[in-house]
C-alpha cells in the first residue's frame, strides 16, 4: 500500500477506465474521490456499482457531470438524471438484478468465470444468456465482472491499509476491493497498525494499493 494525495490518486484513473464504486444509494461511497473525478473533468468512465444514487450524491455526481458514459447498476429509480441520459442515449445503462450484480463482482474477484443463478429466469434478464439445468432446476450463467479500479469507502484504515467498514456503509466495498486491478481507498479515519484487531479486519491490506484519508 502507498499513501498518496487525493489529486494524485485520481490522476491514476484515465479517461475511458472501468471503475467499481462502493456505496448503496450513496451511503458508503467515497465522496472525495467522486468530487475529485468531477473536478479533474474525467470522461468516458464505465461505472459499476449498486445504483446511481440521487442527484448530487455519490455516483450521481459522476452522472450529472458527464464523467460516466456507461453504468452497470441494479437501480436508477431515484436519480431522474440517469433516466434522462439513458433515454436520450447520452449514457448507456445496463440494469442487472442486485444479487446477480454483486455475485458477478464476487466471481471476478474470486477467480471464477461466473455464477449460476435462478434470478432472472423467465424474465427479460435471460435474453442472450446461456441457461443451464442442474438437478432439474434452471439457472442463468452470469459472467464475472472485473474493473480497472475499485474506489472503496472504508471507516478505518491502518497505515498498512487493513480496512474495516461501518454499519450499512459496507455494502459493495469489500467485494469490489477483490475485483479490480487497482484499489483506491478513501478512509474516514486512519489509525495506527494494531488498532484494528486481526479478527476485525474485513479487507486485508494486501488488496489495497492506495489510501487517501477523508479531506
Amino acid at each position: 500500500m502507498k499513501t498518496i494525495s487525493l489529486e494524485q490518486a485520481v490522476e491514476l484513473i484515465p479517461d475511458g477506465a472501468s471503475v467499481m464504486v462502493g456505496g448503496f444509494m450513496g451511503v458508503g461511497t467515497p465522496e472525495c474521490l467522486m468530487d475529485e473525478l468531477v473536478r479533474q473533468g474525467r470522461r468516458g468512465l464505465t461505472v459499476i456499482g449498486n445504483d446511481t444514487a440521487r442527484p448530487g450524491r455519490g455516483i450521481g455526481k459522476l452522472v450529472a457531470s458527464g464523467v460516466a458514459s456507461r453504468a452497470i447498476v441494479s437501480h436508477i429509480g431515484l436519480n431522474p438524471e440517469t433516466q434522462k441520459k439513458m433515454i436520450s442515449g447520452e449514457m448507456e445503462v445496463e440494469l442487472v438484478p442486485q444479487g446477480t450484480l454483486i455475485e458477478r463482482i464476487r466471481a471476478g474477484g474470486f477467480g471464477l468465470g461466473g455464477v449460476l443463478t435462478p434470478t432472472g429466469v423467465g424474465t427479460t434478464v435471460e435474453e442472450g444468456k446461456r441457461k443451464i439445468e442442474v438437478d432439474g432446476a434452471e439457472y442463468l450463467l452470469e459472467t464475472a465482472l472485473t474493473a480497472d479500479f475499485a474506489l472503496v469507502e472504508a471507516f478505518l484504515s491502518d497505515y498498512y491499509g487493513n480496512l474495516t467498514y461501518a454499519l450499512t456503509g459496507r455494502n459493495f466495498n469489500p467485494v469490489i476491493a477483490m475485483a479490480a486491478r487497482t484499489v483506491i481507498v478513501n478512509a474516514a479515519h486512519i489509525v495506527p497498525v494494531g488498532m484494528i484487531a486481526p479478527d476485525h479486519v474485513v479487507t486485508p491490506a494486501v488488496l489495497v494499493d492506495y489510501v487517501v484519508a477523508h479531506q
Partner: protein, 221 residues
C-alpha cells in the same frame, strides 16, 4: 381505515416470532408498524442490515445506518451488518422467511410484475427479482385496482419479475392465495362481499364454501 393501513395490518398477521423478513418500499414498509409489541421479528434491509428499527429521533440520525432507500433507520438490539454478497446470499439462498413487495400486476397463477412499465417507468429491478426468486414465502401488498382496472389479471401485460409465482396477495378487498397455479379467495375485507371481490377481479378466482372476513382491529365490518 385507509386501504394501505388495512393491507399492512393484515400482512403483519402473517409474521411469526423469529422470522427473517424483508419489506419493500411503500405499503410493505408499513407492515413493521403493526407487529405486536414484544414479538421479535428480524427485519432485513438488503443494503446489509438485519435488525432494522424505526426512524431515529432528529439529532440521532447516523449517515451510515440506512435502509435500502438510503433513509436513516435505527438498529434494534441484536442487529448485525454485512456486505451485499452476504445480504443476497440470505435472500437467494432460502434463508429469508418472508418478503413483502408491492405489485403492478399479478396473473391468476400468481406470477408477479412489479419492476417496470416499458417506455414509462424504467427504474431497474434492484433486488426485486432476487427477492421473488429466493424468499421462502412471497407476499404482495397492493391495491386491488389501478385507475379502475383490476391489477389481478388473467395474463400479465407487463414484464414478469420472476418465473416463480408468489404465495399470497393482500389488497384492500381480499386475501388471495396462489397454490398449484390456482388463485383462491381466502378472506374478504371487513364490509366487502365475495361478489364485490369477484366483480373487481379480472382473474378467475376459486371460491371455497366459506370465505371468512379479515380480522382487523378498528376496521368497520
Amino acid at each position: 381505515m385507509d386501504p394501505q393501513t388495512l393491507i399492512a395490518m393484515r400482512i403483519a398477521q402473517e409474521l411469526k416470532p423469529g422470522m427473517l423478513v424483508n419489506l419493500g418500499i411503500g405499503i410493505p414498509t408499513l407492515v413493521a408498524n403493526y407487529v405486536p409489541a414484544g414479538m421479535r421479528i428480524y427485519f432485513q434491509s438488503e443494503n446489509g442490515l438485519i435488525g432494522t428499527g424505526p426512524i431515529p429521533e432528529e439529532g440521532m440520525r447516523e449517515a451510515l445506518l440506512t435502509d435500502a432507500a438510503g433513509m436513516p433507520v435505527s438498529a434494534l438490539p441484536g442487529a448485525c451488518t454485512f456486505d451485499s454478497a452476504m445480504s443476497f446470499g440470505l435472500i437467494r439462498g432460502g434463508h429469508l422467511d418472508v418478503t413483502v413487495l408491492g405489485g403492478l400486476q399479478l396473473d391468476e397463477r400468481g406470477q408477479l410484475a412489479n419492476w417496470t412499465i416499458p417506455g414509462k417507468m424504467v427504474p431497474g429491478m434492484g433486488g426485486a427479482m432476487d427477492l421473488v426468486t429466493g424468499a421462502k414465502r412471497v407476499i404482495v401488498a397492493m391495491q386491488h385496482s389501478a385507475k379502475g382496472a383490476s391489477k389481478i389479471v388473467k395474463q400479465l401485460t407487463l414484464p414478469p419479475t420472476s418465473s416463480r409465482t408468489v404465495h399470497l396477495v393482500v389488497t384492500e378487498l381480499a386475501v388471495i392465495a396462489f397454490e398449484d397455479g390456482v388463485a383462491t379467495l381466502r378472506e374478504t375485507a371487513p364490509g366487502v362481499s365475495v361478489q364485490q371481490v369477484l366483480a373487481a377481479t379480472d382473474a378467475a378466482l376459486t371460491v371455497p364454501g366459506e370465505v371468512p372476513q379479515m380480522h382487523i382491529e378498528g376496521a368497520d365490518s
